[in-house]
Symmetry: C2
Subunit: 160 residues, 2 copies
DNA sequence: TTCATTGCAAATCGTTTGCATGAGG
DNA sequence: CCTCATGCAAACGATTTGCAATGAA
C-alpha cells in the first residue's frame, strides 16, 4: 500500500502535480476503503478526520484529478450520486461489475465472468471498449429473508 | 402502438390513475422515440409541441409514475442526466444493454447475449436480479475513423 | 364536493466555478 | 516571485416539493 502511494506520487509529479497533504489524505482514505464505493461526500467526511480544514470542493477536485490520471474509477448506480473507487491495477482496467441491493444498498463486486462477452461485443459491433459498467440491481441474500422485502418485491405479480 | 396506449391506459386506471392529456402526450412522445434515450428535458420539449401548456414538473412526475408502473425504464449513463425508455414488453424486462460512444455520445442497444451470465450470478450469489444495466463505453466504428479521436484515445499508452 | 392532477415557483441536492488567499519551489 | 492548490461562498443544472388552482368523477 505504501507501494501504491509512492506510485501515485510519481504519477502526479510526472505531470507536474503535487501530492499535497489534502491529496495524500484523500488517497489514504481511498486506500483504506478499497472495498467500499464512496461518494464524494463520504470521502469528504472521512478525510476531515485526518485533515479537518479540507473543503468539499478540494475533495471533488482531487477525485476528478485522480480520475483523469486513471488512478480512481468514477461510477454511478443511478441513485444520483457519483461514487469513486481506487483502480485495482493498470490494465485489466475495464472489468468492474456490481451487485447492488435495492433494499439495503449493499454493493458487492463481481469482477470476473464476462471477458467473452466483451470480446463478442468488440467484434460484432466494431466497437472499441474503453470501460464496462455492469450493474445488477436486485435483492441480496440477506435482505431476502426480511418479510417486508418479500412482501414488496416477491409477492405481487409485476404486471397484474 | 394504439395497442400499447390502450394497455397503458388500462394499467393506469386499474390503479386509480388517470390518463390525462399531459400523460397521454408524454406516452405518445415515448412511443414515437422508442429507439432514443430521452432525458426528462428532451421529453418536455417534445411534449410541448403537442401540449404547450405542460410543465416540466409534470413530465418528471409522469415519468416517475410510468417507471413505478414498469412502463418505462429509467437509466443513467453517468453524464448527470437520467434517461427514459419505453419498456419493450412485459417480462423479458431486465435485458437492456448499451454501447455508448464516448466521442459522439451515440447509444446503441444490444439487447441479447448475457442470459447465461444472469443465471450464474443468481446462483453464485443467491441474488435475485430485478434489473440489469450493462453499459459499454468506448468508441464506435464511425468515430474510430476520426483522426482527432485516434490521437485522443488510441495513441497514448494509458499509463506512461 | 372531493380528490387526483396540474403549473408555477421556490427549494433541494450534488457538483462546479470564481476569486482572493496561501504554500512551495 | 510565480504558479499551483486551497477554502469559501456563490453559481449551477437536474430533480423535487409546496401550494393554490383546476377539473373530472
Amino acid at each position: 500500500m505504501e507501494d501504491k502511494l509512492t506510485r501515485i506520487k510519481q504519477l502526479l509529479s510526472s505531470q507536474r502535480f503535487k501530492l499535497t497533504p489534502q491529496r495524500q489524505a484523500t488517497v489514504q482514505v481511498l486506500l483504506e476503503h478499497q472495498e467500499d464505493h464512496l461518494s464524494a461526500e463520504d470521502v469528504y467526511l472521512l478525510v476531515k478526520d485526518k485533515a479537518p480544514e479540507i473543503g468539499l470542493a478540494t475533495v471533488y477536485r482531487t477525485l476528478e484529478l485522480l480520475t483523469e490520471l486513471e488512478i480512481v474509477h468514477k461510477m454511478n448506480f443511478g441513485d444520483g450520486v457519483t461514487r469513486y473507487d481506487l483502480r485495482r491495477d493498470e490494465d485489466a482496467s475495464h472489468i468492474h461489475h456490481h451487485l447492488v441491493c435495492m433494499n439495503c444498498g449493499a454493493v458487492q463486486e463481481i469482477d470476473y465472468l464476462l471477458q467473452d462477452v466483451e470480446k463478442i461485443v468488440e467484434e460484432t459491433f466494431d466497437f472499441s471498449i474503453m470501460d464496462v459498467r455492469l450493474t445488477f440491481q436486485g435483492i441480496c441474500s440477506k435482505c431476502k429473508t426480511d418479510p417486508v422485502v418479500q412482501e414488496k418485491y416477491f409477492k405481487h405479480p409485476h404486471h397484474l
